[in-house]
Amino acid sequence: MKPARVAALATLLLLVVSPAAAFTVRDMLGREVTLAAPPQRIVSLVPSVTEIVFALGGEARLVGRTDFCDYPAAAQATPSVGGMVNPNLETLVTLKPDLVFATDEGNREDTVRQLARLRIPVYLVHANRVAETLDLITRVGAMTERQAEVPRVSGEMLRRIEAVRKAVAPFARRRVLYVLWPDPLIVPGRESMLTELIEIAGGASITATDGEAYPRFSLEAAVARAPEVIILADHSTGASTAGRSAPDKWKRLTNVPAVQAGRLYSADLSILHRYGPRVPDGIEMLARFIHPEAFR
């Protein structure tokens, strides 16, 4: 082969192998994600990420979401690829995504592996703390090239969270039982963000040191820890239609302080279980349940 041709071939190879803008980032699980260019067609399999993309004004690049991505209302105009556990891969592929956001809590590992085989880059997110939520917002800002909006969104969140902290500071912490699912009883454990949200709202989750994220729990043990506030997750709002919380069953436990004091509340699950811009909404709601006297 002539030297000129070799050179031309080498140049061509170089162009193919290393597109000018290719870059590698690490996702929240420490995996390397290599992208040819800043993603323009994003599919979010995580409702929280969908909320963040909209809050940062990056929705023009969002081409797909799940059935559970119901907030903000405008998100529902984006095509859905199905559920979080069983997204439809064919539908997903036809959206031609150059990046998919997924989570290790709620999506299946198998889905992530299948996307990897289809050579669609997957960015895994994982947030169990308010600090991690803020980190996630920064990361989504970087991936959607909306970094400029991050300080506004995060700053507003921090300001509201600080306001709640101040409002509940004068009051003694109340013992809180949060019921994610009543039967079997499933509660937030050591690794759940709810545990931290309750703490910021001036409470102390009675299951804060148990299990992992959402362990099953014995009703007896819950009663024995004498919760002063009981908060029941209401599954009837948003995309989940699993059912309304049933406070009557709890009202029968008349020797529990929370029931005696009438501090039995029902809370919108879709706000409390998303690590996105609505975290302060959840904290404010919890604080009003735990310390209503602070907001009179």
Binding site: S80, V81, G82, G83, M84, V85, N86, N88, L89, E90, T91, V93, T94, K96, E105, G106, R108, E109, D110, R113, Q114, R117, L118, L180, W181, P184, I186, G211, E212, A213, Y214, P215, R216
Partner: protein, 338 residues
């Protein structure tokens, strides 16, 4: 007609049906590709990065192969269990063997085995061990001097099935809420595109298991005359039982490992074939392999499209077909034998 030509005819017809179902499965799906686009992808004339190529070759085709293998393996396992127990109602799910394999897989999932190639082997080993354990338990509970009685066998299957289902429930109840959705989804029995290396391993196990059973088909025919008669005709009954039980457990275990617990394929398919071809296991094993593949692929194509863009679990569809079929068989043909 001689047995050989009947087999050739039956295989020809079933093969044609299978081809039609394969074509249907490749051309229909929620991506809404035009038939021309699919054909272009199949002919290799679409770019590797094109949507039609990715959907057809990387999503639909591996799933079609997985469905055909799983359906074939389950139907052959059904023929084997039925021949072995001389009970037309025996089937991997009914006998609790699927539950045993499922327990093995959930155990493997919990202990954090991920799905790289070697670890696929690990999951398959867990599934096979579970299936073998369940099959052996059923057999030992039901075995009495003089053979296996139908009632005892079915009851033993139910009991073993319940035991392993409970064992799965124990694992589920100590599992974190966040992982629950995925495991329950898997337990419903779903087909998915499987990577090529796993598919090759699956094919080897399914075809190997089927071959072991085909080799025993003649002896299984003799066993149908009764154990004593089979012994008098020179069959080593103990060895035959051990070999066929192991092979059927291998088939069930590999299906559960690579797809999930899918029920009733091993009941419906052999039954329909027996109605057409008679009792000869030498005809039933190969035709069940092809017919089972066509049946499960048809069910999966339905599952994929009936509520598109959402998907049903194929296990739900086979159970919806299989459970009424089981009741029908109980109420009509096998009333007297029970």
């Amino acid at each position: 007609m001689s047995a050989a030509s009947r087999l050739a005819l039956a295989l020809g017809i079933l093969g044609a049906v299978l081809l039609v179902v394969i074509a249907l499965a490749l051309f229909v799906g929620s991506a809404g590709l035009s038939p021309r686009a699919v054909a272009r992808a199949l002919a290799g004339r679409a770019g590797a990065e094109s949507i039609e190529s990715i959907v057809t070759l990387q999503l639909r085709l591996p799933r079609v192969v997985a469905a055909v293998l799983a359906g074939g393996a389950l139907a052959v396992a059904g023929v084997a269990f039925q021949g072995l127990t001389r009970n037309p109602l025996a089937e991997p799910a009914v006998l609790g063997v699927s539950s045993g394999a499922a327990f093995g897989v959930v155990l493997a999932q919990i202990s954090g085995l991920q799905l790289s190639f070697l670890e696929v082997l690990g999951v398959a080993t867990f599934a096979f061990a579970g299936a073998l354990l369940a099959a052996a338990a059923v057999y030992m509970i039901a075995a009495v001097p003089g053979g296996l009685s139908i009632q005892t066998l079915l009851l033993a299957g139910v009991i073993v099935g319940i035991f392993f289902t409970s064992a799965i429930t124990v694992l589920i109840s100590i599992m974190d809420y966040n992982r629950l959705g995925g495991v329950i989804y898997w337990l419903l029995g779903n087909l998915a595109p499987i990577p090529a290396t796993s598919l090759a391993l699956f094919a080897a196990l399914a075809l190997g298991g089927s071959w072991l059973i085909l080799r025993s088909a003649r002896e299984l025919n003799l066993l149908a005359l009764g154990e004593e008669a089979a012994v008098q005709l020179g069959v080593d009954v103990t060895r035959l039982k051990r070999r066929v039980f192991t092979a059927a457990a291998l088939l069930t275990g590999s299906v559960v490992a690579f797809t999930g617990p899918i029920g009733f394929v091993g009941l419906v398919v052999p039954h329909v074939l027996r109605g057409i071809l008679g009792q000869d296991n030498r005809l039933l094993v190969p035709t069940a392999l092809v017919g089972g593949g066509a049946f499960l692929l048809a069910a999966d194509t339905l599952a994929r499209n009936i509520v598109a863009p959402a998907e049903l679990s194929v296990g739900v569809i086979t159970s919806f077909c299989g459970a009424p079929f089981f009741v029908y068989l109980l109420r009509t043909r096998y009333r007297a034998t029970l």
